[in-house]
Subunit: 204 residues, 2 copies
Amino acid sequence: MLKTEISRATLGRIPTYIKYLDTLPLDIENISATSIASGLNLGEVQVRKDLAALCGAGKPKIGYRRLELKKCLEHYMDNDNGNAVIIGAGKLGRALLDYGGFNDFGISILAAFDRKTLKAENTEKGKLILPMSDLADFCRKNTVKLGIIAVTAESAQEVCELLYANGILAMWCFAPCRLVEPKGAVIRYENLALSLAHLKMQIE
Amino acid sequence: MLKTEISRATLGRIPTYIKYLDTLPLDIENISATSIASGLNLGEVQVRKDLAALCGAGKPKIGYRRLELKKCLEHYMDNDNGNAVIIGAGKLGRALLDYGGFNDFGISILAAFDRKTLKAENTEKGKLILPMSDLADFCRKNTVKLGIIAVTAESAQEVCELLYANGILAMWCFAPCRLVEPKGAVIRYENLALSLAHLKMQIE
């Protein structure tokens, strides 16, 4: 299956599946979706669908070869295309820069860039904050493929075009605005206010 | 329609619809979904579905009474149950506290609480950061209905139970963990790493 067709929810369960396979006794060579579902207390249909989408169907009555399944799942978490930069080192940019959870999904946020930064500095956790003038060089040297837009709505379009000019096609935009999307770019908008508003609605 | 059945996407378009109705000439009394769709460059089916879900069907050949429609839409954005607090005043908690976009959806983040805070302080934008010992009083006085969990995974369960004990049933959890959910609580997990991982997959 094309990676693009894999749902966010399925993707989110991969680390759980990998951890589970790691905890099995070493002499277990084959494992069925049914056993995994039962071990993880997940629905059997869900596990079966997830694994089929990610790694193809298992063999009837046998299931999956455990090591092959693990390798297949790990492939989704590898670090190809996983280098990211943040534009905007305000509170949100810095919070994302120091957030530890990205590594699990094969993503490294390497640095943040800010137009107010005049020379390189480090966050508490040792991550880099760099001047905007370093961006082009940095992206080329580190083959950065992901850009996080953490600037104001007014600056977001300019930042989007700058990232695009530096070969970054996948952007995650926290600014509350819609962008004119450069051709071939994939932009995900993160509307935090909307998430909370939707939650609020659940209790009304 | 029950508010709980309204999709996140539909909810997200409400401010757009309200703004559009506000820009119409004053003498326009009725407006059809078709006209709104065309004015906003949205699909007609989508607008029709949104408005039907939010405010019921319009009248054949006439559409909606403009002022009634506006009032209905605004009702979704009102501030009932919109008072929120954040637990955890680290970088993420502070970023959310000072983020301006919540007001559009009738949500006020009133304060953040942190166990490291010993006496009340203010952020740059004048928002309150308070000691944990003030939480119970504050929630009661301000009828807080939403809680944002911005602590570590280790502390999240304790915070969840504390919020619940203070009458907060809707929680938005940024900690990378699953919680044992108290009865009747509605918890939304925000997995930022997963969002970025899913975006990354789109370019592979």
